[in-house]
């Protein structure tokens, strides 16, 4: 049952490092002693069956678990060497640096422009309207949405299609220029075309942000990521190059899961 991280898998220049992390919901332990480094220029995928702890672990990377009653995180998680659970850490600042995109697109019931501008405004990144215009255009362009919405920035974000809404949420996340983007099953509510657009976007954003994606779709993990971590029953079973995980996994449990023999 030992956790395995392939010895050759040394993440040079990690953006985030987690060391011996345990997460509890009340009495129940959801994450057991997980240590993992997330590369700066890589897309890292977390895969595993429902309830394996992958989303819990993802959410502990920007302290989203703080909002869950009874949740407790032990161990050490660092962003650029800084302990994100240190008392001195400003959680609002942290979440600007480590953005998040959720399963269901959740645009604010505001205009497209305001959805993207909200973050920069509260973080004081745009002193003038002109600055804000630049930030909004840049974020929407990066999210691959600009051409589709540039003529209707005043319309409500909720009027967009599901795929567009999700790209709007990604634009909102990147508008504050984060260092890391966490994605929790960002495509599970989207059709295949919208999914392909998000995957293409992830590909484009690689290198600009460290990206961590939780997905139930193993093909998606294989398509978008360079590193894959397999979680099972709260432990990190295997963490390796994505190509190795999908062609030659070292752990029996990983193999059983990805070949569809699990359970």
């Amino acid at each position: 049952m030992s956790d395995i991280i392939a010895p050759e898998l040394k993440i040079i220049d990690p953006k985030m490092t987690a060391h011996n992390v345990n997460v509890f919901y009340g009495e129940k332990q959801a994450i057991k002693n997980v240590s993992i480094d997330v590369g700066t220029d890589l897309v890292t995928a977390f895969i595993g069956p429902s309830g394996c702890g992958k989303s819990t672990f993802l959410r502990s990377l920007n302290r989203m678990n703080d909002t869950v009653a009874g949740a407790r995180v032990e161990g050490e998680i660092k962003l650029e060497g800084e302990d994100i659970y240190a008392p001195s850490m400003d959680v609002v600042q942290l979440r600007a640096r480590v953005g998040m995109v959720f399963q269901k697109p959740n645009p604010f019931p505001k205009s497209i422009y305001d959805n993207v501008g909200y973050g920069p405004r509260i973080h004081g990144l745009a002193p003038s309207k002109a600055d804000m215009d630049v930030i909004v255009e840049r974020a929407l362009t990066r999210a691959g949405l600009w051409d589709e919405v540039k003529d209707r920035l005043g319309e409500s974000g909720t009027a967009l299609s599901g795929g567009q809404q999700q790209r709007l949420c990604i634009a909102r996340a990147i508008a504050v220029d984060p260092e890391v983007i966490l994605m929790d099953e960002p495509c599970s509510a989207l059709d295949p075309i919208a999914t392909a657009k998000i995957e293409e976007l992830i590909h484009d954003l690689r290198g600009k942000f460290a990206i961590v994606i939780v997905t139930h779709n193993m093909q998606q993990a294989a398509r978008v990521s360079q590193r894959t971590a397999f979680f099972h029953l709260g432990t990190l079973v295997e963490y390796d190059k994505t190509t190795d995980i999908f062609t030659n996994p070292k752990q029996e449990r990983t193999k059983d899961y990805i070949t569809g023999r699990y359970g």
Binding site: M218, Q219, F246, I258, G260, R261, Y262, G263
Partner: protein
């Protein structure tokens, strides 16, 4: 590694089993073709030789069937890890088995030309050589069916004996041809048969290497190959 059929989607197991069944049928036919070709050669049995030539069509048809099923399984089931390696190996193995069938057919076609060849001294050596080759082909396919990496390695090791036989037959025949120019045609046919058998041995090792990859996920280390007359010319100088 035992073969476990325990995919959550049982239809996937059914596909895999069908694929394995077809490959094993194809291998059995190729093995049989070689045995029959050698028997036909020894007995001058033209009818049996014709059967081998005709039976090759069935082997070719099986190859097409396996290819189709493997491509379909890759497309529909998106196999991963050892399942993926098995698909790739299946595709490569059937093309190798098809080649083995072709060589057997080629031997069978020569039977008609061989009226007097059976008196040539190298002929019995060919039988010893072919029985090793049959064993290698058999064991290579067994190693695939049983996911037996150890057996696969032993196939590649034993292929050295086939190479040695080829060298020896080559030398014997060259000498024989010099001394008996009247038998050059028959001797040349025997030489080609020896070469065919040598290639079949190589193809058995190709299968073995694929099996090793399926089982372990690693490539088999380059084996020490025996030298054949093509590499050096010890025989030509005699």
């Amino acid at each position: 590694m035992a073969i476990v059929n325990d995919h959550t989607v049982k239809a996937f197991d059914d596909d895999l089993n069908r694929l394995r069944g077809l490959i094993s049928e194809m291998g059995g036919r190729a093995e049989q073709a070689l045995l029959q070709a050698m028997t036909a050669l020894n007995n001058g049995d033209l009818e049996l030789a014709a059967q081998v030539v005709d039976g090759d069509k069935k082997i070719d048809a099986l190859e097409a069937k396996v290819e189709q099923l493997a491509v379909q399984t890759i497309a529909l089931r998106a196999p991963m890890a050892d399942d993926l390696r098995e698909m790739i190996a299946a595709l490569k193995i059937v093309s190798v088995v098809e080649r083995i069938g072709d060589y057997a057919k080629n031997i069978a076609k020569r039977v008609a030309q061989m009226e007097q060849a059976r008196s040539i001294s190298a002929a019995p050596l060919l039988n010893s050589m072919s029985s090793i080759v049959v064993e290698l082909v058999h064991d290579a396919l067994d190693s695939f069916a049983a996911r037996d990496a150890e057996l696969a390695v032993s196939v590649t090791v034993r292929d050295k004996a086939v190479d040695d036989f080829y060298n020896s037959i080559f030398r014997t025949l060259v000498t024989f041809m010099m001394e008996n120019p009247r038998y050059i045609t028959e001797s040349a046919h025997l030489l080609f048969i020896a070469k065919n058998l040598e290639r079949m041995g190589d193809h058995a090792t190709n299968i073995a290497e694929m099996v090793f990859y399926v089982v372990t996920g690693e490539r088999m280390e380059e084996r020490q190959r025996g030298k054949t007359p093509e590499d050096a010319q010890p025989a030509a100088k005699e």
